[in-house]
Symmetry: none
């Protein structure tokens, strides 16, 4: 089912080395962009020879796809972890925002890479990332639906719009960790020094906006 972009050779090397290579690739791709990343840099950051890279991945594009696939696996784990059926709406939003923030802090280059996949220049990789977006959409809609059902979200709220908004907000928060410019922008909004608490604050604020009871209290 899962398409593999690497060679058989790549499967025969120690898992630790595989991981090292994919992390190096992720780092370089995020830092220098897909077009700007150099195979030689990935090789030297991973501590393998330049030539070996092409025995692991047929082409540079294949390496990119392998990195994207790894990023999706990580993302899936994160979402699954925060997909607690029992949690209330407010907690679910908080949990996702927080884990989005933390993950983006831990591997900002992966976020940078993910952001670059929305660009026209990288459209040929869109198919590789679409399942992730689709999954993300579905999950936000379920979260909102549960909120509506539990009465935490006001009855008049447009569910689809709310899900879109929550997704946009989460994406924007992640962007703030991956990009100096977006970090500056966040600080312009929330004030410098408060950025660290941004995910919680944003979660609280958006939950309040969506709930009816909040305004009546």
């Amino acid at each position: 089912m899962a398409i593999r972009y690497h060679t058989a050779t790549f499967e025969n090397i120690p898992p630790e080395k595989r991981e090292r290579i994919l992390r190096a690739a992720s780092r370089v791709l995020g830092r220098d962009g897909i077009g700007g990343a150099r195979m030689a840099d990935v090789a030297s950051e991973a501590g393998v020879s330049h030539g070996s890279m092409f025995s692991y991945f047929p082409t540079k594009d294949d390496m990119v796809r392998a990195v994207i696939a790894r990023g999706m696996d990580i993302q899936a784990v994160r979402f699954a972890a925060s997909d607690d059926e029992g949690a209330c709406f407010a907690d679910a939003v908080r949990a996702v925002f927080r884990s989005a923030w933390d993950e983006a802090s831990a591997e900002p280059e992966l976020i940078s890479l993910w952001l670059s996949l929305s660009l026209a220049e990288n459209a040929r990789f869109a198919d590789a990332i679409l399942p992730l977006e689709s999954d993300s959409t579905e999950r936000w809609r379920r979260v909102v639906a549960r909120g509506k059902a539990s009465g935490e979200i006001d009855g008049g709220v447009d569910e689809r719009a709310a899900a879109y908004l929550l997704d946009a907000l989460a994406a924007q928060l992640m962007k703030s960790r991956a990009s100096g410019l977006e970090r500056a922008k966040l600080e312009l909004f929330v004030g410098s020094g408060l950025a660290e608490s941004a995910p919680d604050r944003m979660a609280d604020a958006v939950v309040a906006m969506l709930s009816s009871s909040d305004s009546s209290n």
Copy 2:
């Protein structure tokens, strides 16, 4: 005050030609990315010789900055147009979302270029775009402040968070016009075919979320 990135020669050619070159550059940069764009492509799309490009801009990076500067001028005009002091909060949000959408539809490559400026690989251009982000922040905060003052926004709403959210939403809508992937994502949320009405729908939804009276009716 305004830094110029082009040469004197560029100022001496007919305005119509200048505009043609900047639009071609914007198109190619948006389509192929800053790193991937080739000066020769810009030249041929603009109908000038390869060598001429370097008599207009000292380097490729200068051309990129000139295109960014032009994009900022356009943005500024847009924002100014929607900065009607007399309009109510709901109308202001609608107007900005709509003009963001329309502008992104008219020149999606410019949006693509703008998005790419958030990437680490293009950090050297961040200084060129920061004034725009700063301006955008300020305007959203004023819009929200007016909404609060007029009572259209519920008293309990976190103003800074609301401004951030509105900005993120506008950015996300523009992204949907520039990127096939983001367009697909929008359709996943609002349903295919309804994308065209997305800016109004999102504006209405977010205005409703922010208002207290809405939930009590």
Copy 3:
């Protein structure tokens, strides 16, 4: 008789302008080398338009030849001035060394250009400068012959070798004015700070070496 490398147009412009252009060309050619000199630089240093240069000289090489021709005229004037039949050998050597030094100090770029004509890369201009070298040879031989005749030069001295030596020494002194490296080398030999008196000192020393009376004292 004299070949002209410039156009008729060049002869129709004011002499002052002609001189300005040739001096600018000489300066740029000396500073940047024949290959490295840019017509646009010559034009801007001379205060004329880039395009005009090609209405004065059909090609860059023609401009180079015109500058060489001017340099030869200057050189000829200098040599003629020091070609005083009545002077004794010692005075003649002193006079030529001194005027070589002063001229090189006044227009080091012209010397730089002259030096570059000895390089293989500029062999195509050798014919333009050969008459000057030939003239120089002839004059040194006459100076030495007069010295021999007057008894100032020892009878056993190889006249041709002496003339060659004097020429080489004069050339070396001029080089010291045109080149930072050669200036450093001169200072290594004579000590820093004494470079200014070098032409006289060298003249005195070489005259002494060539004279027999010196050894008997």
Copy 4:
């Protein structure tokens, strides 16, 4: 201590290939000048691909410096060989003039390159060659000092001037091998056909000029 201008790759290839590349570079640099030499020409003369050149030297300037460094090594060997403490002054001068002449005959392009380093346009390489000039100065001064001590040089001779003169003469002889123009000039002085014996003749002549006994016999 010794600065290397080449890459690690260059050190890993067979010595024979290294030498072939440096000689080709020397040949092309001498023939076409530093500015005029094309990397592609060096590559094809050395029988390697164009791209390989840049895996040996980071830039063209680095290649130039590598060639200069090799030239200096050769030069140093030559001087060392003629630095026989036991030889009399006359033999030392003869030996250096002769080896300068022979070396210039063997690799005239290297001499051409060396000459071009005195030009303003190549001033950025002056630091690379200064140690050689400095060494040369020192050696000539020692040769003259020994001649004075042994009585072969007349007591009244200006030692520094004599050393400078010997150096200038040696340089001029080398120039005659590297440049067609300078060869023509030498023939004007000593007569055509006699050029081959020039170094010995000049050595004898200058030794005679510097010695007192010679004129009295």
